[in-house]
Subunit: 297 residues, 2 copies
């Protein structure tokens, strides 16, 4: 073990501490940041994520509410609820927990959320602004990864960042974010995915390697450059009879072998996960500020 | 000279021939595709581009109109005109020629164009859909480059495509487009730009090299992999006393040295340029079809 561990919990606490200051200032103006989360169905992971988000809100003084629906909810009903929340002046952030059941068109739902309350950053207009280099709300996980890098002293500026996985939530938006002409980004970036041939050829070139494929422990120590910065955004359940539930959550990175070679590494859990929640809170505070004409950027 | 020249004019003619068939079918239904181009100021290149686009429309049976304004046009007046065109049922495509003068906020203008008439694909919502892998209107130059590749037998699937330049119009949207999980894309992609260190290290790895930096003849034969496919989207004016105007348009690629090493190469002019116009026409026909409930994808 030679790599330095990037402590996502600690960095998330720093971020949340800063947010508490901003929330305090909003309260002085009688503005109470308020996030509404919508949950459709009973996917255990989704239920757990939504509850974690709501709890994290409460802890730093953001009001939150979870609205739960049965799996068979119609698209029309969901659209109606979103319309109501868009119109509600006390609501600053609207989050629709993914994935949605098949009868609901996710793109239609993303488009329905008011762009000024789109704290998940999944509305195409917010993603388009990201692509144009003029982002407002950036999806929480990519934003959290950028914070992890800069707050751990691993600025991506001028580095070669390689992103593994082109998913909508992490890999693809992060590949755009890290390449922006911005003093915290400005990285040369390579996006690899399921059609990439000779993956090792690429992973070995990465100064910074972002793993977002969702393939348990696929990246091993022999695949990376000595001293590289390894960010693990993967979460997969693997069997582990030694635990109560018989499963355990692991990342895309084989921690034991990679941590022998890397310079920096995030653990799973305790790396990217806490940052995702912190950045959702950050986007909610930002929405409350912007809706009330306060600019903090 | 060993490289095969990719003839943009010829491929653009093929595309336009196919569009004439679709326009004919629309005419049978009394639908007449109609593009309105807005030009602000008298930038000679902009005037020339807009006129070329209008002429190309006429040639294949698309109705077009150029609305010109003086340089000092107010943002409000432009927004008003766009509102009118959005509401005009006979107009299928709206194009605002870039660049706009400084007093006009380009993002605001892009956001004002009805997404269903946004044939330039610059509305953030259309760019966001591209980022989500669910594109509708794709900017003309990136789309034209993808057509050039696939119609010249140089499919990017599984290849390493390197994009030089992260501009909004070409480099950045193309880097997303070519990496999509789509049977015509599916490329591993690296995006290089002004902050990239050791550019040669990257350019030499490219199976397909897209040059979109706007730096005259910067890419030379010693920088590329033998047999690579070279797409030159650059246009720069250089002094040339032998011409009538004293200048000449060249690309980002030093054609003489690169064509000795490359497998395929696009010329400037006659490569990417004609495809940009062809894809604008294609987007306009698509808009006319979609607005009238006809799906051709």
């Amino acid at each position: 073990m030679s790599a330095i561990i990037i402590d996502g919990k600690k960095i998330a606490s720093e971020v949340k501490g800063e947010l508490e200051g901003r929330i305090g200032k909003l309260r002085e103006k009688n503005i109470f940041p308020y996030l509404v989360a919508i949950l459709v169905g009973e996917n255990p992971a989704s239920v757990q994520y939504v509850n974690m988000k709501a709890k994290a809100c409460t802890k730093i003084g953001i009001k939150s509410r979870v609205i739960s629906f049965p799996e068979k909810l119609g698209e029309g009903e969901l659209l109606e609820l979103i319309e109501e929340l868009n119109a509600d002046k006390l609501v600053h952030g609207i989050l629709v927990q993914l994935p949605l059941p098949n009868q609901i068109d996710q793109l239609k739902i993303n488009l329905a959320v008011d762009v000024s309350k789109d704290v998940d950053g999944f509305h195409p207009e917010n993603l388009g602004r990201l692509l144009l280099g003029k982002p407002n709300f950036i999806p929480a996980t990519p934003l959290g990864i950028l914070e992890l890098l800069s707050r751990s002293g691993n600025s991506p500026v001028g580095k070669h960042t390689i992103v593994l996985g082109r998913g909508d939530l992490v890999g693809r938006p992060f590949s755009v974010l890290v390449s922006l002409k911005d003093k915290r980004a400005n990285s040369t970036v390579t996006l690899c995915h399921s059609a990439t041939r000779n993956l090792n050829h690429f992973t070995k070139q990465a100064d910074i390697l972002i793993c977002a494929m969702g393939k348990a422990r696929m990246i091993t120590g022999d695949m990376i450059m000595p001293g590289a910065v390894i960010i693990d955004a993967g979460t997969s359940a693997v069997n582990d009879p030694s635990t109560e539930k018989g499963i355990r959550i692991v990342g895309d990175v084989d921690f034991d072998s990679v941590s022998e070679v890397a310079g920096f590494i995030t653990p799973v859990p305790g790396g990217v996960g806490p940052m995702t929640i912190a950045m959702l809170l950050s986007n909610t505070v930002k929405a409350a500020e912007q809706i009330n004409g306060i600019c903090n950027d």
